[in-house]
């Protein structure tokens, strides 16, 4: 606990960096959030999907997704929003496709606004806020003090921010699977924090006069082997996903990896330290029952 100023500084620096990255660089939002263009094309014979993709890239479309769809001669094309209107997109698409196969037929491209993604974002933020409030109340009820709840909530907010910062830095596409991963990260981080809190409660129970900072240090050290063990085990699966999971799971496993690192760090160095700085003592968790002067005798 003595070194907590250092860790606070580190966290603040990391969070400011994350915010700066988010602000200046932004997330590379996947089509789930941004909307975009979808179109169907049919060819006279089975096309080479990779060739179609590279032709589209040459035509100036960023990150085109090309998949076979419906039959071996039909492909579905998805493009991120381009800011061009339907007719321009159509003309450029048609040109690119004709260069692959002169008989290519293009359906009318659909251009979708990011409306749905935006709503998803709002509903996710609402759900998350509501969750945090409930967790705050539950922990306050279980540990008899808001100080620990406050530490837990700050630590929980800390981790997703770092993950978002990483995604802004690496520009890995940010899709719905990443949102799920961030939710999982929140779960892990909370889990760690609560395990430490549980130990703090136990330390105070065995010795009410224990100095709060010593009690916190002891709790963290005593749960450290468990924290590391659990993290190692979880990381085994996540690393396997990262290496073998393929492109669809890349963002997902990256988010989990960063989140687990951040979560371990925050539950060791941040959550209980904050409770301490809020003035946590044994008294808060185990209030002495005041003997009242008035007795109940008639």
């Amino acid at each position: 606990m003595a070194t907590r100023k250092v860790w606070y500084t580190l966290s603040v620096v990391l969070m400011i960096t994350s915010f700066a990255l988010l602000y200046f660089r932004g997330l590379n939002l996947a089509i789930d959030f941004t909307g975009g263009v979808t179109a169907q094309a049919s060819f006279s014979q089975a096309p080479n999907v990779d060739a179609v993709r590279s032709k589209l890239e040459q035509a100036g479309f960023r990150d085109p997704q090309v998949q076979l769809s419906g039959s071996s001669r039909d492909v579905a094309i998805r493009l991120p929003p381009t800011g061009q209107n339907v007719n321009e997109i159509r003309a450029k698409l048609e040109e690119a496709l004709k260069s692959v196969d002169a008989s290519a037929q293009l359906s009318n491209p659909d251009v979708r606004g990011p409306q749905v993604g935006g709503e998803l974002k709002t509903s996710a933020i609402w759900a998350l806020s509501f969750t945090l409030v409930l967790i705050f109340l539950y922990l306050a009820f279980r540990f008899h003090t808001w100080r620990l709840s406050f530490g837990a909530i700050l630590a929980v907010l800390h981790d997703p921010i770092l993950v978002l910062g990483w995604f802004a830095l690496s520009q890995t596409p940010f899709d719905l699977a990443v949102v799920a991963a961030i939710l999982a990260v929140v779960g892990y981080s909370l889990n760690d924090t609560v395990v430490v809190f549980d130990r703090i409660r136990e330390r105070f129970e065995s010795n009410r006069r224990l100095q709060p900072d010593i009690a916190l240090d002891q709790s963290i050290n005593q749960t450290l082997s468990r924290t590391i063990m659990t993290k190692v085990v979880t990381s085994i699966v996540v690393v396997a996903l990262l290496i073998l999971g393929g492109a669809a799971l890349k963002g997902f496993s990256e988010a989990l990896m960063i989140g687990i690192l951040a979560g371990t760090y925050s539950s060791i160095y941040i959550s209980s330290a904050i409770a301490l700085d809020c003035g946590l003592t044994a008294e808060h968790i185990f209030p002495t029952v005041k003997k009242t002067a008035v007795d109940h005798l008639p």
Partner: protein
């Protein structure tokens, strides 16, 4: 001495056995397949199945097997290429007869299927398919309700002979119409009008005011009524969409409400969206009206003067304008069945009406034998047009007289409509049968996921999970020795339990769901680690092995319970508030926490007590 109550052993074993049975269908995997269903909704016959099989053989497309299940033919293949080839060929050859869709046919043995046991279904992101998100125009649902009130008010006032100037929709403290205002003529008796309208405006908030043009009675809908009406519109649209989707013959389609005014339609294995979108989004209904034979339609069209009580239709199948009476005898909403068939006069739609419409039809035809009756097809759609470079969407109603036939004899609730093309008759029957949409819906998002991508997602995701799990098992066994093996057993039981629960609930597993499983495995490992570390701690203090086990479980309990309940809170909130992928994640997470707590706290306790409990002397724990 370490003991564990007998009923707990029994409970743990019982739960595990049941879970194994329910999880069993998932181990058989699935085949690449093609489902073939008849377009007119009858079961595929043995002969029909044989014709498809023979056709595939003649095209030398190899298949593993073909059988009829639930009225559909399911043809199984070895490779995606064969599946695609077959799909294209069958779609081409049996265009008019069958609908085919790509499918992952579970290999679940028949005896399990008979017990109603099914494997978890895979989400669209894992097996490919079409996802359509529709927006329901809930405001027009309210407008329709107000229209109804306005019409009734006009009728009541006319019947009570109370003169009025105008009945119209107005907005009261709102930016959308939410009230009907009746403006009375200056000489009208306001109280009498209120009394007359009391019945009509029963549930609304009625107020009276004096305007410059005369007294006005305003009936405003309450917010609850508006919400109820909107909900009704969405429910009705969901029902209709579900009916239509079922008509497509796709296996395991899903139609769900999303948020306030959206409907999500997921069609696994369907990839050609044009045909589906056309069918799902259409709002078609019929109106039956008598022909106005006393006036000339051509003349009405030329002069622009349409006789009172009649309506001029210029868009007709017959190519000439037609005048129909305004009075509607029956509408498409009133029919009980509609099927297409081919009769002497070509393709036809056979129609059955409900009793009220049947009576009306009987009365109308009895009075009009030898006269003409027109059938009007009404379709609503939303189109986007460019107005000065800006995109404007507007609702368009197309009305077309599809038939104008002489009434040959008196008929009631059963009759047929002729004069249609084959495809047209089928589509019309389908649309009529599935009911009309309460309000216009329009597509806001469409996603087609190719099955290759889905297959690749599954393959790499599953491989990674398997290797990761194997690594976890190995690591636990190395680190905690025998106790590690017990933990592995318990983890396995956890996965079985979770799979069983998800299969039981017919939940869909998608990519975020796999994330949920991963988190659950992490939590289950964590619970075991918490217990074991506690046991080790106690052992270091010099406590006897059995006492250490007991203390380990006891002391770890509060940490496990609190940390899991905290995560459970997050899971439940996301389950309730989340949509789509987030909800899927939350369902798996919530169930997973329950199963992991059960297996870690009760399962591992049972195994450990079985091994190290009782009266035997344990000198050393392999932990």
């Amino acid at each position: 001495m370490l003991e564990y109550a007998r009923w707990k052993y029994i409970l743990v074993s019982l739960v595990l056995v049941i879970a194994l049975v329910f999880a069993l269908p998932n181990v058989f995997g699935s085949d690449l397949a093609l489902t073939v269903a008849t377009k007119d909704h009858t079961d595929v016959t043995q002969d029909g199945a044989k014709s498809v099989e023979d056709f595939l053989k003649s095209k030398s497309i190899p298949f593993k097997g073909a059988d009829i299940e639930g009225g559909r033919l399911i043809v199984r293949f070895d490779t995606v290429a064969q599946q695609y080839q077959a799909r294209d060929a069958v779609a081409e050859q049996f265009k008019d007869k069958y609908i085919s869709a790509l499918y992952y046919a579970p290999r679940t043995p028949a005896f399990l299927r008979k017990l109603g046991l099914r494997p978890m279904s895979l989400g669209l992101d894992l097996r490919g398919g079409l996802s359509l998100l529709y927006q329901v125009d809930i405001n027009s649902a309210v407008t329709q309700l107000l229209d109804g009130y306005a019409q009734d008010a006009r009728k009541v006032l006319a019947a009570a002979k109370i003169p009025y100037k105008d009945v119209s929709q107005v907005a009261v403290d709102s930016d959308r119409p939410n009230a009907v205002r009746v403006v009375l003529a200056p000489e009208a008796d306001v109280d009498a009008a209120r009394k007359a309208l009391a019945q009509t405006f029963q549930d609304t908030k009625v107020s009276t005011e004096s305007l410059a043009s005369g007294s006005a009675i305003t009936a405003a809908l309450t917010p609850a009524q508006i919400r109820q009406r909107q909900d009704y519109a969405i429910q009705q649209n969901i029902t209709t969409l579900r009916n239509r989707v079922n008509e497509l013959g796709v296996s395991e389609p899903s139609v769900t409400r999303q948020g306030l005014d959206r409907i999500n339609v997921e069609l696994p294995g369907v990839l050609n969206s044009a045909e589906v979108k056309d069918l799902l989004g259409r709002t078609a209904t019929l109106e039956f009206r008598m022909n106005d034979e006393t006036h000339s339609a051509t003349e009405a069209k030329l002069t622009g003067r349409v006789p009172l009580g009649s309506k001029l239709y210029t868009n007709t199948r017959m190519g000439v304008p037609i005048l129909l009476k305004r009075e509607v005898i029956a509408t498409g909403d009133q029919l009980t069945s509609a099927t297409s068939s081919s009769g002497q006069e070509g393709p036809q739609v056979d129609i059955k009406l409900d009793s009220r419409a049947g009576d009306a039809m009987l009365k109308a035809t009895r009075a009009n034998v030898g006269h003409h009756m027109g059938v009007v097809l009404i379709e609503k759609r939303r189109e986007t047009i460019d107005v000065d470079g800006k995109k404007v969407t507007r609702d368009v109603t197309d009305e077309q007289v599809i038939n104008d036939a002489t009434i040959q004899g008196v008929f009631g609730n059963q009759f047929r409509i002729v004069g249609l093309g084959a495809g047209e008759a089928r589509d019309l029957a389908l649309l009529l049968r599935s009911g009309s949409l309460a309000t216009v819906i329009y597509l806001v998002q469409e996603q087609a996921i190719g099955p290759q991508l889905g297959a690749k997602n599954i393959a790499s995701g599953v491989l990674a999970l398997e290797i990761g799990m194997a690594g976890v098992f190995l690591f636990m066994a190395l680190y905690y020795k025998v106790f590690g093996l017990i933990a592995d057993l318990v983890l396995l039981a956890n996965v079985v339990l979770l799979t069983a629960l998800l299969s039981m609930m017919h939940a869909t597993l998608s990519l975020p769901g796999i994330a949920g499983i991963l988190l659950t495995v992490g939590m289950a490992v964590d619970a075991n680690v918490l217990i074991y570390e506690r046991i080790r701690e106690e052992l270091r203090k010099g406590v006897s092995p059995q006492a250490a086990i007991r203390a380990g479980f006891e002391k770890a309990f509060s940490a496990i319970a609190d940390s899991n309940i905290t995560t459970l809170i997050a899971g439940v909130v996301l389950w309730v508030f989340g949509t789509g992928p987030i909800r899927n994640f939350a369902i798996v997470l919530t169930l997973g926490i329950a199963t992991s707590m059960f297996t870690a706290l009760m399962g591992s306790r049972a195994v450990i007590t079985l091994l190290y409990g009782g009266r035997r002397k344990v000198a050393h724990l392999p932990i």
